[in-house]
């Protein structure tokens, strides 16, 4: 690694003040340190966020939701009692690497590294997460899905710090799920992943639906046609299969060593159907399988 300065500020404002040309924030380092060691990223100043209380805690928000500190590691996050209301996000976090990796890796780092295969991102988007960002001009908040600009690229400025990920309270009659396909059961990167979220109305018809596709485009993709098809209907195996076929059409996969574009599209179809079915099962309305 090249020489760099290291600081560990105690507040978000100090961190923002320390950022600038050549500086990079450090959360768990499971992406950043690997990239620095492999010479893929030159960093002149590492700003460690883990001494900042707000970035390493789960706080409840006035609306009854939670604010997840961007640098909190996945192990601590999964164990936090407030996260029991968001099982899909906990499960997604626990797909990231091994115990060793999860003891370091943060959800904020997963978002900001912006890998199309990032496992925590579909669940965040499906759960309606918003990103609280601090920069030289103060704080702002925007939907998580607005942060992605391309593989490895976010819309954050060089002096912006992702402070927290805010989840609204889990709505009544709602459930989410994230499923991915990897050739190995552990320690592997998604060839394709699909997150789903459904909210049912009192009759059991879909009032709102979100489907997010991972690793099949430069950024996460919302499968808007599939979402529209589901809304207003009571979920059935037939409807879910049709929605899954539409989701596969929204995928924009590439062919690489992990899989061909055609294979990825097939995976999206299968995973989308299973993810929606998993939501239905969580809602106590398991789909009848044909």
């Amino acid at each position: 690694m090249n020489e760099f300065d290291y600081t560990a500020p105690a507040t978000v404002e100090e961190a923002v003040a320390q950022l600038g040309t050549g500086a990079r924030v450090l959360a768990g380092g499971t992406d950043l340190i690997v990239q620095m060691r492999e010479g893929r990223r030159q960093v002149g100043h590492v700003v460690d966020l883990k001494r900042i209380a707000e970035l390493t805690e789960v706080a409840s928000t006035p609306d009854g939701g939670v604010a997840i500190g961007a640098a909190l590691n996945v192990t601590a996050l999964s164990a936090h009692p407030a996260m029991a209301a968001y099982p899909a996000l906990v499960e997604s976090g626990r797909m990231i690497g091994s115990y060793q990796i999860q003891n370091r890796a943060s959800i904020g780092g997963n978002v900001c590294n912006a890998a199309p295969s990032a496992d925590a991102v579909p669940a965040l988007i499906c759960l309606g997460a918003r990103a609280v960002v601090a920069g030289p001009g103060g704080r702002r908040d925007e939907p998580v899905e607005a942060l992605f600009a391309g593989p490895g690229r976010t819309t954050l400025g060089p002096r912006d710090v992702l402070v927290s990920l805010r989840l609204p309270p889990a709505a009544k009659r709602s459930a989410a799920a994230y499923l991915r396909f990897t050739p190995r059961r552990e320690m592997d990167i998604a060839v394709a992943g699909v997150g789903a979220w459904l909210r049912l109305d009192e009759r059991g018809a879909v009032a709102e639906a979100r489907l997010t596709l991972a690793a099949v485009g430069p950024t996460p993709i919302r499968a808007a046609q599939a979402e529209r098809l589901l809304i207003g209907e009571k979920p059935s195996a037939k409807l879910v299969a049709e929605a899954a076929a539409l989701a596969a059409r929204d995928a924009r996969p590439i062919s690489d060593t992990r899989g061909s574009a055609e294979y990825r599209r097939e995976l999206v179809k299968t995973l989308a159907a299973r993810a929606v079915a998993a939501c239905c099962a969580r809602l106590g309305n398991p789909l009848e399988t044909a």
């Binding site: 290291y6 450090l26 499971t30 340190i33 060691r37 590492v46 060793q100 003891n103």
Partner: protein, 156 residues
């Protein structure tokens, strides 16, 4: 730039000359002379460098040493008490859960941390806890059997 910084390694407080660029693994091996922790892949996949930081297994090859200042580090050298092997180490020997030995320090630390948080793990939980420790010799079954046996030897 090098500076003396305090570390707590295997219960001992020690000042070490630290270069900001040092990984925790480099600090342990090259500055503290504790060569039990190994470097395999160098990118967080193989787990040969696994050590405990405040009780949690981490890959020392992708953690900066400066991040560990003031925290409790346990390496394989700190596992046996007064020359007596700990139950995971003994079970690995008894059941043939080690061959070339390169992955063994990391396996011991991952398994020790598992038994610490979950004294009665299922086989699935053991395999899950060891997912980040690759072994090219044993085929894993004997390692898993050893951890099952170690869990049964509570207090031994």
């Amino acid at each position: 730039m090098k500076a003396l910084r305090p570390f707590t390694i295997n219960g001992e407080e020690i000042e070490l000359a630290l270069d900001t660029r040092d990984t925790l693994l480099e600090l342990l091996r090259d500055r503290a002379g504790l060569t039990g922790s190994k470097e395999g892949c160098g990118n967080g996949n193989c787990g040969a460098c696994t050590v405990l930081v405040d009780g949690a297994p981490v890959n020392a090859c992708i953690m900066l040493a400066v991040e560990a200042v003031g925290r409790k580090i346990v390496t394989i050298e700190g596992v046996a008490a007064n020359g007596k092997l700990d139950r995971v180490q003994q079970a690995l020997i008894d059941l043939g859960g080690t061959q070339c030995g390169y992955c063994t320090p990391g396996v011991v630390l991952s398994a020790t941390a598992l038994l610490e948080r979950n004294p009665n793990p299922t086989e699935i939980e053991i395999r899950h806890a060891l997912a980040g420790n690759l072994c090219r010799c044993t085929g894993y079954d004997k390692i898993v059997e050893a951890v099952v046996a170690a869990a049964a030897r509570v207090g031994a």
